[in-house]
Structures are given as structure tokens and as C-alpha cells.
């Protein structure tokens, strides 16, 4: 198998508190913005952030468990993508609203 899924909540298991809490941290919001500009996904190592690799992995885990991102394995890489469809279905407008912030 060339690609495998990392465990994540089903759409109906996603809680809005967890999503908002996940998005409310500066580093994680930066990650989400980067993912929004990279539809194909980004690996943990490609994220350019002022934190160590273990901290990046930690934040990605928070985002994944909240239901914000999806992660699949490609070789030794873990590619994360935004769960746009699920979030838009659950909270229509939320993600676009967040991403429209003029930063």
C-alpha cells in the first residue's frame, strides 16, 4: 500500500468547540492558512514555523483530532490536508470567514 490514513474523527464526531480551540492558537492558524494555499497538502517538515519538529507534530495532532485536517502516509512523509468539505458541511462559512482575515 502506498498511502494509509491516520486516525481522525468522522464528520459527525467533530465538535465545534474543538475546532475553534484548535484554530485559536497562532501557530496552528498559520498551519491552516498554509494548508489553505496548498490543496495537495503539506508534510510536517515542509511547514516553516518558528518551532521545533516535535511541536509541529503536536499541533498537527491537535488539528487532526479536532477534525480540521486529514493526514495520510506517503512513504516516510505524512501529508496533511484541510478538511474543507467536512468543515463547510458542518459550519458553512466558518472556514472561509477565518481565511478571509486580512492577517
Amino acid at each position: 500500500m502506498t498511502s494509509k490514513q491516520v486516525p481522525q474523527p468522522e464528520r459527525d464526531e467533530i465538535r465545534v468547540e474543538a475546532v475553534l480551540q484548535a484554530l485559536g492558537e497562532p501557530v496552528r492558524l498559520t498551519i491552516v492558512r498554509a494548508l489553505a494555499d496548498a490543496p495537495a497538502g503539506i508534510s510536517c517538515g515542509e511547514l516553516e514555523l518558528p518551532v521545533t519538529a516535535s511541536t509541529r507534530a503536536h499541533h498537527l495532532k491537535i488539528l487532526r483530532e479536532a477534525g480540521v485536517v486529514s493526514t495520510h502516509v506517503e512513504g516516510t512523509r505524512r501529508i496533511s490536508t484541510l478538511r474543507r468539505d467536512d468543515l463547510e458541511a458542518l459550519y458553512p462559512g466558518l472556514l472561509t470567514g477565518v481565511l478571509s482575515a486580512k492577517q
Copy 2:
């Protein structure tokens, strides 16, 4: 004067991180939901929550400083309202998306 404004950030001073962090706390999200159903606003004492009055006031302060709610004085009461227009202008869809969560 029968009504006075409590200090709050201008629209252009509102930061999305602060808004999301404010919304990402269960008690505060409950407050926001209550305010969404009460266009005329709610006083601190009218909020029915499993926390003490000082904690309620604390959460309202967080929401006010983040730019989520507006508070004006009416006698001995402080009436808080959702800053729907400002939030919709800054992050179109965010608030409606959050409020559409099936709870």
C-alpha cells in the same frame, strides 16, 4: 446619561486569533449562543451558567476585548450584545458558521 459604552476594540483592531480563542471556550461559546438569540442583549446576571458571577464577568471581558461583544451601561446593569456587523464585515460567514453547529 442613561447609557454609556464600555471600552472595546475598534473594528480594525480586532484580531482573528483573539476572536477564535474567545469562541473556543465552552462557557464563552454558550454565552455567544445566548446572545445570538437575544438581539436586545443580555446582562451578566441574566446568563444562566454553571459558574459564579465573577467568572461570568471574566468571560464577558474576554469576549469584549476580543471584539466579539459590545457592552453598554444601563443603570446598574451591563448589557452585552453580539458585534454581528463587525464580525460579519471582518470574517464573513464565521459567526453564522459557528452558530449553525448543531450543538
